[in-house]
Structures are given as structure tokens and as C-alpha cells.
Amino acid sequence: MTEIAEILLTASFWAAVLRIASPLIFATMGELICERAGVLNLGIEGIMVAGAFAGWMAVYSGMGLWGGVAVAMAAGMFFGALHAVLTVPFGLSQHVVGIGITLLATSSAYYAYRLALPEVTSPPRIEPFQPVDIPGLSDLPFIGPALFSQTPLTYFAFFTVLVVALVLYRTPLGLALRAVGENPAAVEAQGLSVTALRMGAVIVGSGLMGIGGAFLTLSAFSSFFFEMVNGRGWICIALVVFGAWMPGRALLGAVLFAAFDALQIRMQQTGLGALVPYQVFLMIPYILSILALILMSRRANVPAALMVPYNKGER
């Protein structure tokens, strides 16, 4: 137990927590937007892979890092648009379409990678985002190195949560989004387009998922390799439920999950790690997530029209 306390008291632990949380935050916000509008986006896992690859490939081909982020977002929006067309105007099953998008986006990314780099055996590297100190805040003892010595994309992730929350609760657009996931008939009766709102939400949300994927290649690691997203998309779907479809609580969930993840890596180095197989440590964040989900989702207010296609003029 004292070993855990020692880990928790190091600044590098908390810096790692925010780093691990960042891609989850982007993708969770993306999924939250989709689900608030009434569309479950199971394409998230594949869209993150596509974003990770597209962002990395753009930078590898000579684009700037922010250009890479933009390309990753565009790749996410492309697959999001495909998802949106199939699920919103065509009203197809959101489960089937989502899983299909994940398979398609993942294999497209792998295929494109092999087409572009047929010969390489070890993944080539790019120069990723570097930590940026924030004047004043970064010099604070403990808190500075823990929280304010991150790459720009991490700051951007937290900023995204703020924007999503403000839009959702303080603007007419957010009001319409929350209404369209609860009762699309109410939105249509007020003269707004259910189709446009839902498609827009899925496309923008998927763009954020793409950025979440790009965080892995442009900020956390410096190359693209297979299996690198490794289920993070599925975790984000759980985080949306954990957050009860509220941005602030979803952020809390992402940070909590990242903390468990950072903790288990460090516990593998402790005396306990010599006794217990490392796979047990790998399971910890997932087991704790399941427990947290069970406790939190009991009184969750799931959007009433989630996964219900809306057909205008149907009785």
C-alpha cells in the first residue's frame, strides 16, 4: 500500500495520467455528441485507427503537426459521414453500421499503410508534439510538472470538454442536439431538421474521434503501428455511459481510467510485480471500469431516442 501512495505522490505519475487520458477525452467527447443526438457510433474504434494513421501519414509526408491533426479530423469526419448517411436518412441498424465502419476504417488504414510503406519492417518515426510549459503555472512545485508540462494536444483535449459543455448547455444548437436525442418529433415540430442535426453531430463527433486517434501517433508515440488503438474506442463508449452523457462527468471518468492505467504500469515495477503475472495488472483498469460503470449507470439518464431511427411522416 505504501508503494501505491509513493506512486501517487510523484509528479510524473500525474503527468502520465493526463497524457493517457487525452485520446480518451477527445474520443469520449465525440461519442457523447453522437449519442446526445441519438446515434450510437460504434465506428469509434476504427475511426480512431483511421485518425491515427491519417494524421501520422500526413506528417510523415511533410505536413506540419497541426496539419496532421486537421487531416486526422478530416479522416474521422469522412467515416463519420458514411456512418451518418447509413444510420440517419437510411435508418439502418446503428449496431451493424457501427461495427462495419470500425472494420472498414481499421482495415483501410492498415491497407493504406502497407501500400504507402511496403518495404519497412520497423515503423518509421516522425518528430511528435513536444511538451509546452505554461509560463507561471509550470513553475509551481509538484503541480507544475504534474499538470502544466504537457503537449499542446492535451491542453486542447481539456479545452474541447469546455467547448462541448458550453455548446450543449448554453446555445440554441446544444438545446436542439439534446432534444433530438430525446424526442426527434419535438425537434421537427419546432421546424428544425432532425436529419441535419443528427448527421452534423455524427460527423463532428467522428472528427473528434479522429483527433483522439491522432493523439497516439502525433503526441504519445511517434510512429504508427498495428493494434495501437487497442480497444480505446470501446472504453470511450463505456466512459460516455459512466459520465451519464454529461461532458464534465465523462471527463472525470476518462481521468479516472487513465489513473488506473498509469497506476498498474507502475505497480508492475514494484515488489508486488515480481510475484503477480503482469497480465493481472493489465486487467485492473478494466475491472475497475466495469465496477464503476455498474455503480454509476444505475441512475443514468440515457437519451430516450438513442438508437431509434427517425422516419419523417411515419405513423
Binding site: T171, P172, A176, A179, A186, E188, A189, Q190, G191, L192
Partner: protein
């Protein structure tokens, strides 16, 4: 903005030659309609006559196959609710279009501000909503979550949505179906104020006395066609009913009941949704249960159907407490069940008439023997019901979803009455049926009563309760009123009980939830 005055004298709204088909069904057939400024026009017709379809075309939910909609002399583009709203048309839908996860105010604001505006301007909006509530007598707390509002309050939010957008034409689709008589009076007061202020109202209903009370002109629809246009001063309820049905009407005239022994007794029974309910269903008597929907009717029906068990109190069938209480036990005890929702719980849509006819007896001889179905017997039983109860269908192998509501209900009726039940639970037995089918079902229930069955009739239609019941109870917030014998209560008296007054004890919490009656009256007195 739609607030400019229409050309004096001309109609504010004109529908010309509206035709709409759904597959082979002609829902609207060349309908013309003019609406003048400051009038209440009633659109009368049976279920399926095409009233709602017509209004959905006017509002842009559907596009007409042919015909035009003109508001203040300008043609509306088809299929665009936004255009109808901007032209000053406001619609209060029968099934409310409110988002439960938002406040009343946010529901009213939805879609009224440009989407890309940074702020919502809730402060100014709230002031405007409060002013409108006062002017039109529509008491609602703008900050309340819609999920917490009663049905009457939700309807007021719907009306406020239209008024907030400066609607000049209000369309109300079956607005009184969910209201107590007091709430209906308050609604009519609101509508009278609206027309006094120059608005025009289209009131859709199949309740004749309400149409006579509020409308100046009545258009009657039948099978998608306009079959009559009269002013209310030139007609009466009887004539309207005949126009609506297209045939002579003979409402059921129940003879005096001869009540026998109590067959089913509840003594201070509590359970999920029920509190201290005492009820005695006597042989040869129809006991009516009045109340605003959602006040425990479902809980009581579940209890009698065997779907719920009491947690406290005495429950006896024919003098004995039932053993393990379950739907099968209820059937075995001779309780016949006509469920509230014939589509959801009464039938299985993709099963044939034969299969639906034996849903409750499939496991018993002679329909099944030593674990094997006897389909010949099952089909004979279905054919028997079809012949005896005049179920119009191609044959017993037809999937029941293809039948009209009335024919579906006749099959259920035959299924229930064929077992000669001692107790009949009739939950909304005529909801959504044509007048012809209504009369048929009600006469069958009366015949079962005269044959000695104890019947509990649950209905939201007070007229039906008052016509058929030998004694009446009112249910409110899970509590049951005393039994009122036939003829002792007027609708307004029952309305007081329906609004939660008279139960005396038991705190005020429930009065707040269900007692919109007093709030509505408060609003209408504030003029």
C-alpha cells in the same frame, strides 16, 4: 414575423383539394377548408377519418399528393414544418412533442433562436413565457423539467410553444382526450381568450358535446372525405353523430342491473401504484372506474390480471384468497381480461387469428393434448369466434395485424367471453373504435353482465363510464373513491374526485401531482 394582420374578411387559412394516399388507403380525398379570423372550427370524425392526416399536411409533417395550403393568402411549401411555423401556424399534437430531458422553457425556446447564436437569452424568454401564461391562463412553471409535469401541464407547454412563436392559427389534435373535465373547461377558456385576441383555432375531436361547446363551425370527415359543413347553431349532437358515422345511431340503453354476490373483493389492498384500495365486484353489475390516465388504473388492472401481487390488504375471489397469484391463476379463477392495448398486450401482431384466439388456453385440453397442439380444434375455435362475433377477415389464417382495430377487439372479446368468465376486466375496451364497433362491444359487455358476470370497466371517457356503469369509483394517485351508484354523480362531481379532491387524508404531495384542476381554474379566474 407572422404578426401582421391578415387581409380583412379573407380566410386566414385555405386548404384546397388536399389528397393524400397511404398505399391503397385514401386518407384525404380532395378536401377543401377555409378558416376565418377569430373563429373556432371543429374537425369532427371517427378514428381513421383522416383528421390528423389533414392537419399533418397543413403543418408540413406530410406532403400531400395533390392540393395546396394557403396561409394569409400565401401558398406554403409542402413538407416543411418550419415554413408552417413561420407563417403563423402552431400545432398542439395529440402525442406531445416535448423533450422530457429539458425544462418547459427550453422546450418552448427550442428552434426559436438561430442555431449558431452563442447564447440562449433565457432571461428575456422566461419573462415572455410568464406574460403569455398570464394572458392566456396557462399556468406552468417554466423552470420545471417536462418529465416532472402532469399531462395537463404538458399540454399547456405545447400551447405556449405555439403562442411564443406568435402563432395566428392554433391546431389542437384531440386535446381533451387526456384532460379532466375541469382541465377541459380551463382549456376552453384559454381558447376563448385566444379567439378574442384574433387568433383562429382548429379543434380536432370526436367528442360531440365538446365540439358543440367550443366551435362555431363544424366540418365532418368520413373515410377521408368531407361529408358535411354546418354551424353549431344549426345542428345538434345527434345530427352530428349521424353525419360522422353515416348511419342511424342507437346508443346502448342498459336495463337495471340485478347485482348478486361479490365475486372479487379487495379490502384495503396496497401494492405497486395502489394505496388502500377497497373494491367489490358483484355478479351482474358493471363497476366503472373513472380517472385521469396514469393514476393507478394500470396498477389495478395488473393486479386483477395476475401480473402484480398485493403487498398488503385482503384479496378474495369468490370468497377465498387466491393461492400463488399469477396470470395463469387469474385465468383459472375465471377472470376474463380485455387488455388496455390490444396491439401490445392483447394480440401478437404476426400470429394468425387462430393462434391469437387460443393465446390464453393453448396449454390446456382440448387445444393441446399430452404436449401436442390440436390445430384442428384451435381453428374451429377461431372460426367459431369469427362467426359469432362478426369478425370481418379473410379467414382464420390471416395475420391479425391486417385487421382493423374494431375487428381485432371483437376477436379478443370472443376469446374472453367464450370462456364464460365470472369476472371481466374491461380496460379501455372501446378506445379507438368506430361508433359501430363501440356499440357492439358495449352491448356484448351488457349481455355478459345480464348473464351474471362481474365487470370492471376502466375508461378515460366519462360518458362511457356514466352510460354503462351501475356503480362508479374514481381512482386518483392510486387511491379509490367510495362507490357511487348510477345517477348520483354528475360529470363535474366526478371531475373533482379525478383531480384528487375528496380523498381527504394522505398528505398533499399527490394533490400537487394530479390536481391540475385547481391550477387550471386559478388560471382562468385570473382574467
Amino acid at each position: 414575423m407572422p404578426s401582421e394582420a391578415p387581409a380583412q374578411g379573407g380566410p386566414v387559412l385555405r386548404l384546397s383539394g388536399i389528397t393524400k394516399r397511404f398505399g391503397a388507403l385514401v386518407a384525404n380525398d380532395g378536401i377543401d377548408l377555409d378558416l376565418a379570423r377569430g373563429e373556432v372550427l371543429a374537425l369532427l370524425g371517427e378514428n381513421g377519418a383522416g383528421k390528423t392526416t389533414l392537419m399533418n399536411i397543413l403543418f408540413g409533417h406530410y406532403s400531400a399528393d395533390s392540393g395546396a395550403v394557403e396561409v394569409m393568402g400565401k401558398t406554403l411549401p409542402p413538407g416543411q414544418p418550419g415554413a408552417a411555423l413561420r407563417a403563423g401556424v402552431g400545432m398542439v399534437h395529440q402525442h406531445f412533442t416535448l423533450a422530457d430531458n429539458l425544462t418547459a422553457l427550453d422546450n418552448i425556446l427550442l428552434g426559436t433562436e438561430p442555431l449558431w447564436k452563442p447564447g440562449l437569452g433565457r432571461g428575456a424568454a422566461r419573462a415572455r413565457v410568464v406574460a403569455l401564461s398570464r394572458d392566456f391562463g396557462l399556468a406552468v412553471d417554466p423552470g420545471a423539467m417536462v418529465a416532472d409535469l402532469s399531462v395537463g401541464e404538458r399540454q399547456r407547454v405545447e400551447i405556449l410553444k405555439a403562442l411564443y412563436r406568435d402563432a395566428r392559427i392554433l391546431i389542437l389534435d384531440e386535446p381533451t382526450a387526456v384532460l379532466t373535465p375541469q382541465e377541459t373547461d380551463a382549456l376552453f377558456e384559454t381558447l376563448r381568450r385566444a379567439v378574442a385576441l384574433g387568433l383562429s383555432v382548429i379543434f380536432i375531436s370526436h367528442k360531440l358535446h365538446e365540439v358543440m361547446a367550443i366551435a362555431s363551425r363544424v366540418l365532418v370527415l368520413r373515410h377521408g372525405r368531407l361529408v358535411g359543413a354546418v354551424t353549431t347553431t344549426d345542428t345538434d349532437r345527434h345530427k352530428l353523430a349521424e353525419m360522422m358515422v353515416g348511419a342511424e345511431i342507437t346508443p346502448p340503453a342498459p336495463s337495471r342491473a340485478t347485482p348478486g354476490a361479490p365475486l372479487l373483493v379487495l379490502d384495503r389492498v396496497s401494492g405497486p401504484g395502489l394505496r388502500d384500495v377497497s373494491l367489490s365486484l358483484r355478479a351482474g353489475q358493471i363497476t366503472g372506474l373513472a380517472g385521469v390516465s396514469g393514476n393507478g388504473q394500470g396498477a389495478l388492472a395488473d393486479l386483477l390480471s395476475g401480473l402484480a401481487t398485493p403487498t398488503a390488504g385482503r384479496f378474495e375471489i369468490a370468497g377465498n384468497p387466491p393461492g400463488a397469484w399469477s396470470p395463469r391463476a387469474a385465468i383459472a379463477a375465471g377472470i376474463g381480461r380485455i387488455p388496455e392495448d390490444r396491439h401490445r398486450t392483447g394480440t401478437i401482431a404476426d400470429f394468425s387469428l387462430t393462434e391469437n384466439a387460443i393465446l390464453e388456453t393453448y396449454a390446456d385440453a382440448p387445444v393441446s393434448r399430452s404436449g401436442w397442439m390440436d390445430w384442428t380444434h384451435a381453428r374451429q375455435r377461431a372460426e367459431g369466434i369469427i362467426a359469432q362475433y362478426d369478425v370481418r377477415c379473410p379467414g382464420p389464417q390471416t395475420r391479425i395485424r391486417l385487421l382493423s382495430g374494431g375487428n381485432m377487439q371483437k376477436l379478443i372479446l370472443g376469446r374472453v367471453l367464450g370462456e364464460n368468465p365470472r369476472v371481466i376486466l374491461a380496460n379501455q375496451p372501446v378506445r379507438g373504435l368506430d361508433i359501430g364497433a363501440v356499440t357492439y362491444v358495449q352491448n356484448q359487455l351488457l349481455a355478459a353482465r345480464d348473464a351474471g358476470a362481474a365487470i370492471l370497466l376502466i375508461s378515460e371517457d366519462l360518458d362511457e363510464i356514466l352510460t354503462l356503469s351501475d356503480v362508479i369509483h374514481v381512482i386518483s394517485a392510486g387511491r379509490l373513491s367510495p362507490a357511487f351508484p348510477r345517477g348520483t354523480m354528475k360529470p363535474a362531481d366526478l371531475g373533482q374526485w379525478m383531480a384528487g379532491h375528496g380523498f381527504g387524508d394522505h398528505g398533499n404531495e399527490e394533490d400537487r401531482k394530479t390536481g391540475q384542476g385547481d391550477k387550471g381554474q386559478g388560471g382562468s379566474n385570473a382574467a
